[in-house]
Structures are given as structure tokens and as C-alpha cells.
Subunit: 94 residues, 2 copies
């Protein structure tokens, strides 16, 4: 029931992308994140655009790469998403 | 952008119903909760059935009323939902 339980409460891809950006200490760019959250590249890019619009993510050009970083607001929301997802995953294992 | 931001991350009605059940110290029953979260009665009842199925809510008959209570698991998930919603509402006020 786990995946199902998560989906009942959370929009899983946006939440996971934010959490992933918070967990990774190395460079983040859209194609890497899309692999990590198992979303298509174009879906990931669309979500990242919205996260930028909300002021939760910032991007910087590094040559041809687009490097992504959480803002302070993004970091706070990422933490709360992470805690909720962890709680729901615990239930899944019961 | 607040409501919109919440919806981007959270399935708002299920999360709010759980939070509402956690906040209320008086008796909870479906029609009361539906008023508090601004959902139709039938939508609220459907969500509550799923919450019962996930083991997050228990119900007891009290005459013609159906009294609702969070389980321990439900209380934990409700707290995490509440913290995330509060964080997202803060952004909305910025």
C-alpha cells in the first residue's frame, strides 16, 4: 500500500525532486535529478520551472549545464516534505 | 500563490481532514469534518473510508453518529502533514 499511501497525501514527483535537491551535496542539474526521481526529463524540467517560480529553487548557468540550488525557503519545504514522506514510507513497511 | 503552492505538493483534502481530526479535542464525525475542511459530505466520507483502510483512522458507532478517531499512526502522519502545510502557508504570506 506504500506508493499508494504516499500518492494519497503527496504529489510525489514535486516533493521528491525537492528532497533530492536537498540530499545531494554534489552538483545538481535537471537530467541527473530526473534519473534519481524516475521522472522523464521534460516532466522534471516542467516541475523545476514551477519550483523556480515559487522561489524554492534557483538555477545558474555553468557552460551548457544548468545548475540547480535550493533557496532557503526551498530547503525548509524540502525538509518538511522529507519528514512526511519518511513517515508514510514507514507505514508502508509495517 | 498559496493555495496553488499547497496543491503543487499536497493532496489538500486528505491532508486537511487528517490535520482536522488531530486538532479537534471534541467529538469528530463526518458531517462536522466536512464543514471544517470545506469538502462535500460524500467526498469527505470517501476520504475517511480510505483513511480507515490505511489504518490511520478508526470509527465507532455512537447511536446514529459515527465518531472518528486517529490511530497512533494517523496521529504521526497528521503531525507531519500539519508541519508541511504550515510551512507552505508561511510562504503564501510572504
Amino acid at each position: 500500500m506504500g506508493e499508494d499511501l504516499e500518492k494519497f497525501f503527496v504529489n510525489v514527483k514535486p516533493a521528491r525532486i525537492l528532497v533530492e535537491l536537498n540530499n545531494q551535496f554534489s552538483e545538481n542539474y535537471p537530467s541527473k535529478i530526473s534519473g534519481e526521481v524516475d521522472a522523464t526529463y521534460s516532466h522534471t524540467v516542467r516541475i523545476i520551472h514551477r519550483l523556480e517560480g515559487y522561489g524554492l529553487v534557483e538555477s545558474h548557468k555553468d557552460g551548457r549545464k544548468k545548475l540547480l540550488e535550493l533557496t532557503d525557503d526551498g530547503t525548509e519545504v524540502a525538509r518538511k516534505c522529507s519528514e512526511l514522506l519518511t513517515e508514510l514510507e514507514k507505514k508502508e513497511e509495517d
